[in-house]
């Protein structure tokens, strides 16, 4: 059944003949905006970071959190709540995308197999990506990288085989379990910090020797939870957009 829409009643500020005018107007607008922004940003000197709070954190981070990577110390220590919020956003987006695509017509366009070579390569890549992802996650408090970057690689590990042979099932149930419990673990660790008279996300355990793998208190545990959560969420998100088959 075809619906008729009242095209003629729609007000178009400038029709096709006004295309050039609109283009010129928006170019002018963008140029003005750009100039304004540039002036503003230029009043913030480059190369002289404000370092008001930053300096204090640089001085104290290692002692207060035990992490060598100060960005990690901020992400999981000083601004740990941001990180919880961030994984929550990813979780929310994954839940919403899953809901939106729940009854979408699956498996029409994505049936074709990528061929033997790609498939084999994908499966050979799997353990390699898994190890790299895990390494990046558990060394997050020492070296660049951590839960997000490692989680992204973990997701890729689970997703590449799916890319190679779309018919293979993706286990949404396991992904749901992992992301749910990893998120729960993060909050529970945070709440445990309140037990000894501390506040939410107060660090547990000793800080350990700087530079050692088992150091920085509960930060590596938090990063592990984030890595697992991000990994499972990203993989689940990609699988639901891509239309990987549900495995009961």
């Amino acid at each position: 059944m075809r619906r008729h829409y009242p095209q003629h009643r729609v007000i178009r500020p400038m029709g096709h003949q006004g295309n050039h005018g609109r283009l010129a107007a928006s170019a002018l607008f963008l140029a003005g905006l750009g100039l304004l922004l540039f002036n503003l940003v230029a009043s913030i000197p480059f190369g002289h970071a404000p370092l008001h709070v930053g300096r204090a954190i640089l001085e104290r981070a290692s002692g207060e959190t035990g992490a060598d990577n100060i960005v990690t110390a901020i992400l999981l220590g000083y601004r740990g709540l941001d990180t919880l919020g961030e994984v929550t956003i990813l979780f929310t987006a994954a839940a919403a995308a899953g809901m939106v695509l729940a009854s979408a017509g699956r498996g029409q366009a994505q049936g074709e197999d990528a061929g033997f070579i790609f498939r084999t390569a994908a499966w050979m890549l799997f353990p390699f990506l898994l190890v790299v992802g895990a390494y990046i996650i558990i060394h997050g408090h020492l070296t660049p990288g951590g839960g997000f970057q490692g989680g992204a690689i973990l997701a890729a590990a689970f997703f590449t085989p799916l890319l190679a042979s779309p018919a293979s099932p993706f286990n949404h149930r396991v992904a749901t379990l992992v992301e749910g419990f990893a998120g729960l673990a993060f909050i529970v660790i945070g709440l445990l910090g309140m037990l000894g008279g501390g506040q939410f996300l107060t660090q547990l355990f000793g800080k350990g020797a700087p530079g050692a793998l088992f150091s920085a208190g509960s930060l590596p545990v938090l990063y592990l939870a984030i890595g697992l959560k991000v990994g499972s969420e990203l993989a689940g998100l990609m699988a639901s957009v891509f239309g990987g088959k549900e495995k009961a």
């Binding site: 503003l40 404000p50 709540l81 919403a96 149930r173 506040q199």
Partner: protein, 488 residues
């Protein structure tokens, strides 16, 4: 010194825990998913009520996350204003909990993350942390806008998402400018640095960028084009929740920015102008709207414009008026959306609706009288507070705003009376009977109507309470002292 109250994380932590667990529970116990979610909301509401009563009796409380003292880490700052809106959000989420069972688990999860994110939005005292919580609430709202399952929902949601993300990213640029100028993200710290470091064009631009970003959810002009589309396409419960409570949270956050970080006349003027534009554009569009749902969507824009106008008046009187307007609207508008859900047909085909559903029509009349501002009803007091604050101000633009509000009231009264006279008109014999709002619509609407009447009875203590709240929320330096100067 301010008591440290670590427990103020619970209104955020409990809903998020529930949200993380709900999909797992929904897979094994689909028929219990909805009930489980409601229990989580109730538990969180009980805890929040306890926290609120402690804040009410012993003053604002602070919690430094991770035990990292104020400017370094993230702080939660719970005062009466924050707790009031946390409680309102809990009540809204509980009242407008989506229907259905396990098949609707996605919507339940989104409701819980919206609750956690919105609570964090009200409580957080850190610029970037507020941004993160705002994004949680925003992403959950995009999802909820699409949760009706109809194709209009998807279209409205994607357009909402694009506008909202444009706004959030511009807000992030604003945050970057603030950080570049001051080197801190803590609002209390900013309250001390702002008069020296942000009282310049850079600060004003940062405020404008934040206003665009947070104005999307607060339905401020010109970034409110999503509102009629989403409220028309989403389930009525979602529209009621977003228009009723979530938009108020966003505008309260804008108030916090204004009071703490941007105490300059130009920033107030910007908020006032967007408010005036919102009131004018909203009421004119409501007058011309094709049906009641659309009319209420547009009038919601106008009401939030009024709140913005009130918040732009400096001093506690403006804050009190804004909070009163916001609370009143948070009670009335969701009830309207519930009633109008079945009455989406053009007005002519609603003739005689009052005969078929007298209770709904009567409630409609009560709500209309209150929103127009007929004396004993709470809507009158809210508007009266605004006019009083405006007249006490020495700023001539505010007087103009007051005139705009009075004119808008006339327009609003006109279209509401048009709807009411249609309801009570006698229907032609041949016409099909207008649809009746069912119990699932009438229930929440009646609850809100009862709340409105209760507020009418307790006007005096309520007014005193709002005044105390405004005094507390308006004192920037007192807030800074509470958050930063801990007698360690």
């Amino acid at each position: 010194m301010t008591p440290a109250l670590p427990a103020i994380i619970y209104p955020v932590a409990l809903p998020l825990m529930g949200a993380f667990l709900l999909p797992i529970a929904a897979r094994s116990l689909p028929e219990l998913a909805g009930a489980l979610g409601r229990v989580v909301v109730l538990v969180s509401m009980a805890v929040s009520a306890m926290l609120a009563s402690s804040v009410w009796s012993s003053g604002p409380a602070v919690s430094a996350m991770g035990g990292f003292a104020a400017p370094l880490g993230i702080v939660f700052y719970a005062d009466r204003l924050a707790m009031l809106f946390v409680l309102a959000l809990h009540a809204g989420v509980f009242l407008f909990w989506p229907r259905g069972r396990g098949e609707n688990a996605g919507a339940f999860t989104l409701m819980l993350t919206l609750l956690g994110g919105g609570s964090g939005l009200a409580l957080s005292g850190d610029l970037f942390n507020i941004f993160v919580f705002y994004e949680i609430a925003a992403v959950a709202s995009y999802g909820l806008a699409a949760s009706g399952g109809g194709r209009a929902g998807y279209a409205a949601a994607i357009r909402f998402l694009i506008l909202g993300s444009l706004g959030s990213t511009l807000a992030l640029v604003g945050i970057a400018l603030v950080y570049g100028a001051t080197g801190t993200l803590n609002l209390a710290d900013l309250a001390r640095l702002a008069p020296r470091m942000l009282n310049n064009p850079l600060g004003l631009s940062a405020f404008l960028l934040l206003l665009i970003g947070f104005g999307v959810k607060a339905e401020l002009t010109p970034v409110n084009t999503w509102a009629p589309e989403v409220y028309g396409a989403a389930p009525a419960r979602v529209a009621a929740l977003l228009a009723g409570v979530v938009s108020k949270l966003a505008i309260v956050v804008i108030l916090r920015f204004l009071v703490l970080a941007f105490p300059m006349p130009a920033a107030r003027a910007a908020l006032l102008v967007t408010g005036i534009l919102g009131v004018i554009a909203g009421e004119l569009a409501a007058w011309r709207a094709p049906n009641l749902n659309q009319a209420f969507s547009y009038s919601s824009i106008a009401q939030l414009g009024m709140v913005a106008m009130a918040f732009s008046i400096s001093g506690p009187a403006g804050i009190a008026a804004g909070v009163a307007l916001a609370l009143h609207h948070a009670v009335v508008k969701p009830a309207f959306f519930m009633l109008a859900d079945r009455w989406r047909a053009p007005l002519e085909s609603l003739k005689g609706a009052a005969k078929d559903s007298p209770l709904a029509a009567g409630l409609f009349v009560l709500l209309s009288l209150s929103i127009i501002g007929i004396p004993p009803l709470p809507g009158f007091w809210a508007k009266f507070l605004f006019l009083k604050a405006a007249m006490a101000s020495s700023w001539s633009l505010v007087w103009f705003a007051a005139a705009v509000m009075l004119a808008a009231t006339v327009v609003e009264a006109a279209w509401l009376l048009r709807a009411i006279s249609a309801f009570y008109a006698s229907a032609p014999q041949s016409a099909p009977r207008p649809p009746r709002p069912g119990m699932e619509h009438l229930g929440p609407a009646l609850a809100l109507g009862a709340l409105l009447l209760a507020a009418m009875i307790f006007t005096a203590p309520l007014g005193a309470s709002i005044n105390a709240l405004a005094d507390e929320a308006g004192g920037a330096q007192a807030i800074a002292a509470r958050v930063l100067d801990k007698g360690e």
